[in-house]
Structure formats: C-alpha cells, structure tokens
Symmetry: C2
Subunit: 117 residues, 2 copies
DNA sequence: AGAGTAGTTGAACAGTTGCTCAACTATCGC
DNA sequence: GCGATAGTTGAGCAACTGTTCAACTACTCT
C-alpha cells in the first residue's frame, strides 16, 4: 500500500527537478521513443535497414546477404513492419521490402555520423 | 564442419545482392551502431537523457524525477558513461551528470520528430 | 576518528529477446 | 489439383537486460 522509498537523500535540487519535470514529455512518448530505437538496437535489424536503404529486396536476398535464415529475417521484418519502418509489395510469390520513409535513413545516418565522430 | 544451409531459395536477385553487398559497412560498424541505439531503447534511459538535455543533475535528482532508485539510475548512468553519451563532474559528495555532446540531443530530436510525424 | 549522506557496484532474479525448428499459407507452372 | 518455391508464424530455448538488494567507497562535518 505505502509507496516504496525511492531515494534516501535529503538535499535534492528542487528547482532543477521541478524545472526539468515541466519540460519532460509524457510517459507514453518515452515508451514510443524507446520502442522506435529498439528497432535499431540489434545488429541484424540495422543491417536489414541499411541494406534496404541501398536496394529494395526480397526476404531471400536479405537472408543470403546477411547469412541468416529466411525465418530469422522474416521475424525481424515483421517487427520492422509493425514499427512502420519498412513497407512491402508482393509480386507473384516474391515479397519485396523497402524502407517506409526518409526518417529511417536519417536515423541511420545520424548514428553512423556519431560513430565516425 | 559443413556450413548450415541458410536459404533454400533458387531465384535470388544476384545483382541486387552484390550491389548491396558492396555498399554495406563492416560487421563492427553495425555492432557499434546497434550498441549506440541500445542506449536509447529503454524508457528509463531515454528519460534520463532527455532530462539531462534540460538540466545538469545529480543521481538523486534523477531518481526523484523518474521515480526509481538511486541504484537503478546509477547503473543506467554507468552504461551511458561507457557509451560516451553523458559526462559528469564531482562537487563534494555530489556527482553532476550532463550530456556528453550535441549528438545525443540530435538523436533524441530526430526520434521525437518521427513520433510526431 | 566517527557518523552521515551521495554514489557505485556485483550478485541474483524476473522479464524480455533473437534464433531455430517445424508446420503452415500463398502463389506459380504444369 | 499437384508439386515446388517464397514467405510467415508460434513454440521453445538460450542468452541478455533492468531492477532490486545489500554491501561497499567517497566525501563532508563535527
């Protein structure tokens, strides 16, 4: 019932905390933001995204390119689809995937940029 | 010994795959990139980063602000420190944390931007 | 030196995640 | 319809991750 004690310190900078509090976004926004970056936190997924930035490709192309199974690629593509980061079109039995919009490229670019200082 | 069969498809788009292959970065780059975005994939961590974008603060401030324990905050700050995303300065017993550089703000901004379409 | 507060750390636990496997759907060509 | 290929899906498993807890360090003040 009673709240758990969260911080056992006396001197907190009340004004700083209040000021920051006012500038913070909603809980939901942070959840969504974390959810977005979660799509870029895995080696296989960033590879898929970066590959699709170069060319539209089918699941098998990606599997061969990355050296993983079709199933693994398909699972990741599903996650990326649900996050609206990739789109696809079907042509006969083949499903071609590509990036959903420019934001993806921007995020990748800013990331690479940070790595190369 | 023998390689595991990775893809059981006949028709792959060889040219597309080769072209993409040439444009891909190194394995290590993708690992680093995923490692960078991993720092933004958790609600608590993005909150910490966004809070520090507003004001330099100590561990207790962050704990109170986010409603989590000092320990939890400290663990996350350590990860962020190791990733060179935050810096700190000690003043008596108090350790003040702030963002390491503008890149962090850029990444957060582009993320929020994507959420708000 | 001793008490008190800020912060860090490592082990442990619960929850999550990415891959594999096997079974499934969808579409094509005969 | 039938067989073959592209792709999807769910269960299960091993590896990883975030939090908590308790013990620790670092600094201050008397």
């Amino acid at each position: 019932m009673a709240k758990q004690p969260i911080c056992d310190c006396d001197v907190i900078h009340k004004e700083l905390v209040n000021d920051t509090q006012n500038k913070m976004k909603s809980e939901e926004d942070y959840l969504k933001l974390a959810g977005l970056f979660k799509m870029f936190d895995d080696k296989t997924r960033v590879k898929i995204l970066h590959a699709l930035e170069q060319n539209e490709m089918c699941v098998c192309d990606l599997a061969v390119l990355l050296g993983v199974t079709k199933s693994a690629v398909s699972h990741q593509l599903k996650a990326l689809r649900l996050a609206n980061l990739v789109k696809y079109r079907r042509e006969a039995q083949i499903v071609y995937y590509s990036l959903a919009d420019e934001h993806v490229k921007e995020i990748l670019d800013i990331g690479f940029n940070h790595l190369y200082e």
